[in-house]
């Protein structure tokens, strides 16, 4: 029983993450910008690191502001690049942003003590120790962003599926894209604080990859992603508690296993139905 109470906050945190990332993941997969969240997370982390070096206390509003400013700049950059369409592949820009943000953080933090541990922490996070206030704060932010996305769902979905058509219809594509990237950036900023980069990345792409195998409709895909994410979170947290191993990596491995199983089952069924 004690274990159950202890596991309640991490479980709630997982569900919160599954909720918002299950949705954003579909956008990300449709746009083919798989690594965007790692880049965004790293940019936000660079803001935090900079604040840390400037001796601003952790948890101070200024730290948050720093991250937000960097995320804003990145969102503008991504939106502008997509709109102007120079001869550059979007994934390349995302990757380069990721690499530069990470290594810049390494340069800045080089002198601080315990930087090895800091990097490890940033990757695996500490979802087991997450507190209710943090979860509720994130939940409120996600709810607002989710609401905005629900109200303007035609715009956002249109942008992810048929960018050119929207552009011709006269939508201000660049600004809508900016809002898309900004909201995604804010979500990732909060999620990374709860779960670490690894778990956020996995929740973003794996559930929506699973749902892509079953359906093409947004409503079904979101639902399937949520179910898969929830099941795996329960299983992963339970096992990590019992075996006393870090929960983030375990949840991620189970998610991947789930995806592989689904692919295998699907390919067997496909073979049965249509022998080649």
């Amino acid at each position: 029983m004690e274990g159950l109470i202890f596991m309640l906050p991490p479980f709630a945190a997982c569900l919160t993450l599954v909720g918002i990332h299950g949705y954003f993941g579909i956008h990300v997969l449709k746009r083919g910008i798989i690594f965007i969240d790692i880049a965004m997370a790293q940019i936000a982390a660079f803001g935090v690191t900079l604040a840390f070096v400037l001796n601003i206390e952790e948890g101070h509003p200024l730290t948050y502001l720093f991250s937000l400013v960097f995320v804003c700049v990145a969102a503008y950059l991504f939106a502008a690049l997509r709109c102007k369409k120079p001869k550059i592949c979007m994934e390349a820009v995302i990757g380069i942003t990721y690499a530069v943000a990470t290594t810049a953080a390494v340069i800045v933090i080089d002198k601080a003590a315990g930087s090895h541990e800091h990097i490890k922490e940033m990757i695996i996070g500490s979802i087991l120790w997450v507190q209710w206030p943090e979860i509720i704060k994130s939940l409120v932010v996600y709810a607002v962003i989710g609401g905005v996305h629900y109200i303007f769902r035609d715009k956002f979905i249109g942008l992810s599926e048929k960018y050119e058509a929207q552009k011709q219809k006269g939508t201000k594509v660049m600004w809508w894209d900016f809002i898309f990237y900004l909201t995604l950036g804010i979500v990732v900023m909060h999620s990374v604080r709860i779960g670490g980069i690894l778990i956020v990345f996995a929740f973003l792409i794996i559930p929506s990859a699973i749902s892509a195998l079953f359906s093409d409709q947004w409503r079904w895909r979101i639902l399937i992603g949520w179910i898969a994410g929830t099941l795996v979170s329960i299983l992963g947290l339970f096992l990590s508690w019992n075996l006393d191993v870090p929960s983030g990596p375990v949840v991620v491995l189970f998610l991947a296993l789930f995806l592989v199983l689904v692919i295998l089952i699907k390919s067997f069924r496909a073979q049965k139905e249509a022998p080649v």
Binding site: I34, A92, A99, T102, T103, I107, I205, P249, S267
Partner: protein, 270 residues
């Protein structure tokens, strides 16, 4: 004079890496599998880590063999499978491979002595401490790879340009596998010295910059090569002047070069 002597090895190493990786970058970019090397590098690091866990020291031949074996298995799967599942793009598969390798490494990190240190080392590398021995090894390996690539030059370019297609003759399949195997060898060696991010940047940034200006493969090879060289030298110089770690500084220098040329390009278009 002492500093020149001290920096000679890192400079040589970074130029070698710049040369080979900027070449591969053009292929990777054309194939649209930008993140393959981060995934592969992570798999290689996982192999080294498993080696440490069963008592094989980092830096020994056996440890290299283990991480090489891991890398080659993953790359062969990637090359041979030519994923029939059209619902899932190759980038998604790469992302999942990366995720799994990173997650497994993180599970092991506490079991391995100095695990956290090792994680940072795979990210940022240890260019400053490279030995002449390593450099000679690299030189031999890279020359071999370059020879193979020079020999199959036309075929490899054709494969990269048609990487979307799913039906290949068995000859092309084997060539594709050869491409990935040579790539795997280079990445394992390069990551050991430069770290994941430097390798990634050498691959992607110069090639992206080259693509801004031309479509011709030969010109792209030259532009990306020159860019990588300038970025390395500038990075090492700045890192020496201001006492920054040099791998990360080269990464930032390459990033700055790319941003400047994008801006220049935009202006020219307007």
């Amino acid at each position: 004079m002492d500093t020149v002597y001290f920096l000679a090895a890192p400079i040589t190493a970074s130029l070698l890496l710049a040369a080979i990786l900027s070449y591969f970058g053009n292929h990777i970019l054309t194939r649209g599998i930008i993140f393959i090397d981060i995934a592969v590098a992570q798999v290689a690091a996982l192999g080294t880590m498993l080696g440490i866990l069963i008592g094989v020291q980092d830096g020994t031949l056996l440890s290299t063999v283990i991480s090489l074996a891991f890398t080659l298995v993953i790359l062969s799967l990637f090359s041979l499978a030519k994923f029939q599942h059209t619902e899932l793009s190759r980038e998604v598969i790469i992302g999942v491979i990366y995720c799994v390798a990173l997650a497994t490494a993180m599970l092991l990190v506490d079991a391995v002595q100095g695990g956290a240190n090792f994680v940072q080392k795979t990210l940022t590398g240890s260019l400053l401490w490279v030995s002449w021995n390593d450099i000679v090894q690299m030189l031999l390996l890279f020359s071999l790879v370059i020879c193979i690539h020079a020999f199959f030059r036309k075929q490899f370019i054709a494969l990269s340009e048609n990487s979307e297609q799913t039906t290949f003759s068995s000859y092309n399949r084997r060539l594709d596998l050869l491409f990935y195997v040579t790539f795997g060898f280079v990445i394992v060696q390069a990551v050991k010295i430069g770290g994941i991010f430097l390798v990634f940047m050498y691959l992607i940034a110069p090639a992206t910059l080259a693509q801004l200006y031309t479509d011709s493969w030969n010109k792209r090879f030259v532009i990306s090569f020159v860019t990588a060289m300038i970025g390395s030298l500038a990075g090492i110089y700045i890192s020496y002047q201001y006492n920054f770690p040099n791998g990360p500084t080269i990464v930032c220098a390459l990033g700055a070069l790319l941003i400047m040329s994008i801006l220049a390009q935009q202006k020219r278009l307007v």
